[in-house]
Amino acid sequence: MRAEREAARVERVGAPASRESAPGTGAGDPFPLERVVDEDGLVADESRVLLAGEELLRLHRAMVLDRALDERMITLQRQGRIGFYVGAIGEEAAVLGAAAAMAPTDWIFPCYREHGAALLRGMPLAAFLCDLLGNAAAPGKGRQMPCHEAWRPARYASVSSPIGTQISHAVGAAWAARIQGEEMVPLVYFGDGATSSGEFHVGLNFAAVRHLPVIFACRNNGWAISLPTDRQTAAATVAQKAVAYGMLGVRVDGNDVVAVHAATRRARARAAAGGGPTLLDLVTYRMEGHSTSDDPRAYRAAAVVEPWRRRDPIERLRRLLLRRGLLDDAGVERVRAEVAAEIQVALAEAEARPPRPPLESLFEDVYAEPLRQQREQLAELAGAVAADPRVADPRHADA
């Protein structure tokens, strides 16, 4: 029957691919999971490791820092020292493998779990921590929630909460660079949840139809707050969504930093050579709650997370490094200690800054120059504070 033939046709591109499954063989599977380093740290095809030892060590350190930072900040949030935190525990390979494959002048358009990439790019840790504290030294001047950093010197764009909005920004930046004759390939991150947004669709379509050099990196971490990916989309893979745009889609083991890096580098080379955009489906897993505001026990059984523990991306890279003799157990410990110290120092530095930006900062940067309203309202607020200091008393907060 014809109807059955058609059903089969969809199956072909949409067969439910388990997110835990071993990498596809490539035969018959249009979007096989690319992997270079297996869970034991073994490499089947050495030619696919494109990173030198030194680079692997640098990535390892960045991932360890990312993890340690997340753990420490979650604690700080519990202690009430910061208001909120959203981390990347378990997703470090996806975040850092992709970022490391880009040129330093390539823009990064982050979602909200990519501060590891900002630090890799050179954002000072203390500056990032000031942003978390929202203090007077915060580069973002304490205007957004924690983890909504921006870092212009590294072309690391401004994190925003609304899901998916950054995607078309990357498309525009690529377009502009082509007009300017600059070789620049933006990397834009987003989650599996974001693939349902209109923004995703619109952005990828623009990029494909203009054949723009953009790398769309989906941190496909299995969850959008409480919604598992299979309730987010009926597509078996995120990679196949590229078909809608006549775009290349590649599915990668997002917990294998070497594979993520290789796929991203390939996509970048292709884009820079005029080959157009790529959608990277980085299959990984959100090990913790969505953020410090979330308690996943309400919707996710602990057991489903278990299998992912042994796929830990940092452990996997460590096994590779140990096997290759690039690092020994003491070295691993040393990295951990260094990173902990780095956080400690930066935290001390950040917490030493005045905790609150000045009143006038409230009215700056709305426009290049404050308009009448901002000037008048600053005066009004200053007057009200003078009349009653409680106007500026943060403790007077609850109803």
Partner: protein, 324 residues
């Protein structure tokens, strides 16, 4: 009567109405299994099943658009937008479709539905978890806009909104989701939409507010009383339809008006209230109406308490108005 907080009252209203009316369905991000990021829909999926309490993909436009289609087919959908700040991706559906469907079809079709949104600041949410977009909705003919300040009103007004023949944007003041507690009747009695309530009678100045800011206005009025200033406080509850009679009657008596809202001042609903009262109470006004509002900036993070028009700033405005 049970003592509930505002969040529990919302949950109670949804449960009550879903039991009473099989046409009522709830949909949105994380509303099902999880029960909503604020837990407003907690327990509903367990009671009413996965088809009536639906976890949707991440797309507000789709949530509202699908709700409209459901309403056309005879259901009474109650979509949730996780934060009012994320209503913007659904603006085309809300402003172009939901608001205009009845009118443009010559009254052939209607789409009664209630879009619930936690809104407002005071939870350290920064730019995108704090906004008060009511003016956008009020400016759009075809929508009703309701904002409860207390648990009792939250339940009664939400019941009324779901039964209303018109689409309603139901803004829930998340700052007082837990802080506002009070007695809530156990039955399924709705409160009429479009009626303000004078929560404190007074003679010298009318203070108008809604949602979380009503609590601040009330506090400011109590402090003013201690200084010998007698404020009348009005909780509007429904911004569209607006109970203009109550407002005008009050201002005609007091001759003075202070309007409080969290949204930025310029083109906020305060401007409309000032315009309406000067149109209708021109000869009774003894001082310019004053707006105590959020500032004309995006919503900040660290300095949110400076940004919000809390009691001390309202009190300052009350004093200035009385002294004019």
């Amino acid at each position: 009567m049970a003592a509930l907080n505002l969040l529990q009252a919302v949950n109670d209203a949804l449960r009550t109405e879903m039991r009473r009316d099989p046409r009522v369905v709830v949909l949105g991000e994380d509303v099902g299994r999880f029960g909503g990021v604020f837990r407003a829909t907690a327990g509903l999926q367990a009671e009413f099943g996965e088809e009536r309490v639906v976890d949707t993909p991440l797309a507000e436009g789709g949530i509202v658009g699908a709700a409209l289609g459901m309403a056309l087919q005879g259901l009474r959908p109650v979509p949730e937008i996780q934060f009012a700040d994320f209503a913007f991706p659904a603006f085309d559906q809300i402003l172009s479709e939901v608001a205009k469907y009845r009118y443009r079809s010559g009254g052939q079709f209607a789409c009664p539905l209630v879009i619930r949104m936690p809104y407002g600041g005071g939870i350290h949410g920064g730019h995108y978890h704090s906004q008060s977009p009511e003016a956008h909705f009020i400016h759009t003919a075809g929508l009703k806009v309701v904002v409860p300040a207390t648990p009792r009103d939250a339940k009664g007004l939400l019941l009324a909104a779901i039964r209303d023949p018109d689409p309603v944007v139901f803004l829930e003041p998340k700052r007082v989701y837990r802080a506002a507690r009070g007695e809530v009747p156990e039955g399924d009695e709705a409160l009429p939409l479009g009626q303000a309530v004078v929560t404190r009678p007074g003679t010298q100045v009318t203070v108008v507010a809604w949602g979380a800011m009503w609590h601040e206005a009330d506090r400011a009025a109590r402090e003013a009383a201690a200084e010998g200033i007698d404020c009348e406080v009005i909780d509007l509850r429904s911004l569209q339809p607006l109970d203009l009679d109550t407002l005008v009657a009050s201002v005609d008596r007091t001759g003075r008006l202070v309007v409080v809202h969290e949204a930025p001042r310029t083109c906020g609903f305060g401007a409309e209230l000032v315009a309406l009262t000067q149109e209708r109470c021109f000869l009774r006004l003894e001082a310019p109406a004053v707006r105590v509002t959020g500032f004309d900036t995006p919503f900040p993070y660290t300095l949110e308490n400076e940004y919000l028009p809390r009691a001390p700033r309202i009190l300052d405005a009350i004093r200035r108005t009385v002294r004019f």
